[in-house]
């Protein structure tokens, strides 16, 4: 069973994504903000894929991305960024900083699933 790590500060987004992924047979761990994510990342087993929101309190998705890419454990984990539609410059920045892909919010659940599958082959 593949495992996926979700970080988003909106509880409802976490719920939707978690429901969708568990239905597809993935195992899901979630964190409610960047700080919480960082705490989990140091102790948890490395997931097969991670999904980071960009705008979050305490620590934004870019910082978290940078943190993950600097950890030797995490540097090859596929990371998909969730960005708000109004911030197109974020997309460039996300890809430049080592994100594997991005999805714009509001998102189409099926599209997100397809992108996740592609990263996991």
């Amino acid at each position: 069973m593949k495992s996926i790590f979700i970080v988003d500060d909106d509880e409802d987004i976490r719920l939707i994504i978690q429901y969708m992924l568990e239905r597809e047979g993935y195992q899901v761990t979630s964190a409610k903000d960047g700080k919480h994510a960082q705490e989990l990342m140091s102790s948890m087993e490395k997931p097969d894929l991670a999904l980071f929101d960009v705008m979050m309190p305490y620590m934004d998705g870019f910082e978290l991305l940078g943190y993950a890419r600097n950890e030797s454990e995490w540097d090859d984990t596929p990371i998909i960024m969730l960005t708000a539609k109004s911030q197109e410059s974020d997309i460039v920045r996300a890809l430049d900083n080592g994100a594997s892909d991005y999805v714009v919010k509001p998102f189409k659940p099926n599209e997100l699933l397809a992108r996740i599958r592609r990263q996991l082959h």
């Binding site: 700080k35 705008m55 309190p57 305490y58 620590m59 934004d60 708000a84 109004s86 410059s89």
Partner: protein, 475 residues
Amino acid sequence: MSEFIKLFEWTFLIYFILLNTGYIGLNLVAVLQIKRYINLLSSHSLPKSLAEMAPPVSIIVPAYNEEPTIISSIHAMLQLDYDEFELVVVNDGSRDDTLEVMIRQFDLHAFPEAVRRRLETEAIKTVYVSRKYPNLRVVDKVNGGKADALNAGINVCRYPLFCVVDADSILQQDSLRQVVQPFIEDPLTVAAGGTIRISNGCTVERGFLSHVDLSRKPLVLLQIAEYLRAFLFGRMGWAPLNALLIISGAFGVFKKEAVILAGGYRRDTVGEDMELVVRLHRVLRTEGKPYRITFVPDPICWTEAPEDLKGLKSQRIRWQRGLAESLSANWSLLFNPRGGAVGWIAFPYMVIFELLGPFLEVAGYLFFISGAVFGFIDEEAAIIFFVAAIGFGLLLSATALLLEEISFHIYPRFRHTLFLILAATLENFGYRQLNSLWRLQGMIRWMLGHKSSWGEIRRVGHGSPETPVREDKHP
């Protein structure tokens, strides 16, 4: 002789009753502002799409010697939940490494920006842009005080609305969205203040407020109770009359053109935030331009209150001086034929109860105490005076507490309510009286300072030792 004494007795008694009922009245008018928060069912926020379509905003953050906190503050501000905003940090000639830590952390690079000088300021040395955050710029300038730094920020910023935030203010993520709302609802809005709450006792992590709690320190609790009574609902009452005279420097949004029309921030006052708002009223009223100055009651910005008597005392002395300077710089608004509710109600009210209040309050207490001691007043009358002054004070405190409970109730637990009731009661026995004394000192300093600096421009720098920045803000 005894007629005179009778007259004084009546005057003081009536003054104290009026002072408190005036505030109770303002509290009740404030209900107009918060009635949409009162409905229990709608206490949760509206879907975001009802709040979309917000105009772009420039956030100006003046910074002087903020090295320890500036990074986390800016990080937190960059995370604000808002579509389009830029952050302009103005380093006002800090003597520590404020600028250097920002350069390192945000990958700042000097940028040859031809700044449009619409307001006179001390020289700008360099404008930096961040390679990490495209919407962050840092202005490095020669020290000139907070007002000067803000004016430089106004010159540099690009959007039609600008938001002033103290470097150590703690913002909620949705604060900008909330405080811009009046500008969307009413295009005539020129200024909107955010509501400031006291952060002592709350948990703050990386520039964000993560947990709300009441402080256990008695002095802070007293300030919170005082704060609800005098600063929150007492001021909110002026907004429906479009006569709000104070917007805290810790968090407020302004229409840039209106502020430039009024001349920007004044450098020669310790209360530049209040002075600007009073001046906006004066300029726009006398020019006959329709406008609205308002504020957003949601608790969206948090700031630290002094925890010891010494800090509190100097803060209050400075506030009183700032108030005096703000009002005296705009005397022509008082009873101005075009002054409307500001010139005819709010301004006189401020003069009588806030500016001259300390004199009358201290005089009242002295009169009755000495009268009873030296026997020129009956004991009965003196006791009644004190009982009435405290009784009406209690009523005012309870009204304010009730409003907080039915509207925001930001302190979640039952014991919080009990603590607040206790603090609101005790506040009337000593704390308010002590405050009157401090404010009296502030008035005296203002009058002396006023004379000694007559004809010369007194510069208030961030850096001068008598003006610690941290005590600079009105909540």
